[in-house]
Subunit: 445 residues, 2 copies
Amino acid sequence: MEKKENKITPELASGFRDYLPEDMIPRQRMFDTIRGVFERFGFIPLDTPALEKEEILTGGDENFRMHIFKTNVKVGEEKLALRFDLTVPLARVIAQYPNEIKKPFKRYQVGPVWRAEKPQAGRFREFTQFDADIVGSASMMADAEIISVMYETMTALGISNFLIKVNNRKILNGLAEYAGFSSEKNVTVLRMIDKLDKQGWDEVQKELIDCGLELIEAEAIKKFVSIKNSNKEEILGLVESLMKKSATALEGIAELREILNYTQALGVPDDSWEIDLSVARGLGYYTGAVFETILQDLPSFGSVFSGGRYDGLVEKFSPNSVPATGASVGVDRLFVALKELKLVRPIKTVAQVIILNFDKTCEVTCLKTANVLRKAQVSTEIYLGQETTLKGQLAYAVRNEAPVVIIIGSIELQKGFAQIKDMKARKQSLERDSDLVLKVKEILK
Amino acid sequence: MEKKENKITPELASGFRDYLPEDMIPRQRMFDTIRGVFERFGFIPLDTPALEKEEILTGGDENFRMHIFKTNVKVGEEKLALRFDLTVPLARVIAQYPNEIKKPFKRYQVGPVWRAEKPQAGRFREFTQFDADIVGSASMMADAEIISVMYETMTALGISNFLIKVNNRKILNGLAEYAGFSSEKNVTVLRMIDKLDKQGWDEVQKELIDCGLELIEAEAIKKFVSIKNSNKEEILGLVESLMKKSATALEGIAELREILNYTQALGVPDDSWEIDLSVARGLGYYTGAVFETILQDLPSFGSVFSGGRYDGLVEKFSPNSVPATGASVGVDRLFVALKELKLVRPIKTVAQVIILNFDKTCEVTCLKTANVLRKAQVSTEIYLGQETTLKGQLAYAVRNEAPVVIIIGSIELQKGFAQIKDMKARKQSLERDSDLVLKVKEILK
């Protein structure tokens, strides 16, 4: 659209999107489902502001600083900036309210986060996360609870063909020793491994060598992260024998064994998750188990529900070390996936009844009828638009897919009747005012 | 707190706040209630990003520009900025998707908005609005629907002592003619009148005279906005006789008469709203009816649910003029009010059951029990903290006010029993595993 007569062009900046109602109605039902599962596990809600001090968000990490939206408003030396995830604000909250928040603390939080990245196809600068975290528990039972809540959430959303991939940063931290490269390069190497599913091995190997690894070291890494075995005991046994010199790696293996035991007790089916040694997670704050969830019918979507243990994050803000683990649903990506999988469809309206309103002499009765239905908990819309004919208004009701349409014209009014149309069954009947609610509820059943 | 050993001080900038769970649980229930009422009226959800182009938000109005948080990211000549309300993004959406969005369009939206104002007691720079709007209807029936949804929302939240105050900008636009001042000063004068309930008359009169009004003009305004009469027909008759020279004012009066008629049909009790000629609303975009809602037990809170008709706003972005009306709940202010009125109380947990977990040999059984309860839709937490004694864990459960506590120690385990504590009735019983769900549901009933 071009500017005309001083009009302001109505458009969003690239990297941003609107959810119009026909998507927003099912999207909100998706939120309700996720919240329902999280609450069933005893997670409780927290809300924090979108704007925080830049220092809090970056934790002094320059790598984060690049990707943050800053505002023009300063607080002391620091600018206010938009959060890029919900985990850092959680860590800040834990440190800030040591007396108010009793640990263990199981919290969920949903809200938008922002990343000031170059917009490109499918990558957005504002997106919503839905997080569940357990703070103050060093037990692997907490990590097993996270895997269980991931499994139950995906299942509750109607998805069957998904796979939760689990690894442990401690095993990956043993890679330097195993493959022979300097442990200082470990963070960089993990970040490269994290890109494996998107870039493929050749590209990653090139990057590894560019950052100073020997070919033989890169090949050892490749061999290691490619180990596959659907039997979890076997893969753990194999890794144990390969990494027996790394105490850290052995710790990671022992943790995964505990997690395996606990997830079985929690009823997580064995085939819903696997140990995948190539899962690294990009973010720097993970210290133990890490999780990803892929949709096997849509592998190119990447992970839709990810997280891990981050025992060191709260310490940035607090004299005390506080262990924590959790995971985050990428709800926007997941919503696109649910649409592709035909697990959600556009929904036009929440109104169960639309009352047409085409005769000035009947409008008071139409409004009274709306009030009676609403009082009976029936979601009711009264037609308020410019269409003045019954036909035109009926077309509106059909387009909006309302299950019931009520027509009150002067003839119906005189007799104390209303015409009730069951739009799905394509049936209609004349009902006395006194029977109207009952009849509508019968159709909606 | 001070910085220690390179720790980052965990704190928010002033003007921002966290909602910790004991507030967030009831706050979210408040959201659910509001959403329930809005959906009962057939409003459907919309979601738009927090960041928009600055030009969209200000609409070229310099007065808005001052109060906007801008980011460091530019799009062409314009910076990305944080929305200051949900109405302007709605108008942008209406203009941007003329084919996707069929009118009339009843939408609701909830989300944070930002104002870069100087922080002061009780004034926040980030707060949440919950809006309901009807776009594409010029009918006063739409305004009556807004008053009705305001009434039903307040009632559903358990508030009885509230008053919806209604006025019409068209009447106020007749004030210049009535009081004798230049109509160019009208917008400024309205903004001053809007502050009447906060500043009192003397302060407002001083401002009016400072901006060039004669004392006699200011006094005429005072006399007019002070007219009170609980009989709506009478007050409208009186205003009609005072303003008979102003065609605009007469139009406004006729509109209020229609609204009166329609709200009666919609079952809005006469004593739940009044016509208050001093209600002006600060924002520039209102063109017709304006609404405010005050809590009579907390008059200093100001309006908690406000809005009005804004027939000119969409036009800023669109070649077509689109009439619209709506209102917005200031949910943060309302939540504080509900707490003061003792209509909400802090809630510690959503978990209905806490399973203690103090014996390593029983932990698998504890997890299995958690899974069984969750599958039966019972919100269940398993104790994951550092406390290792039954007593310490029980104290955690008591502090979190969980209605049911389950204890499985080695004795219970051997016998295939669990100890179930009804915390409210202070009763406990030993139940077979097979009866556990039934027993818990019985207690929770």
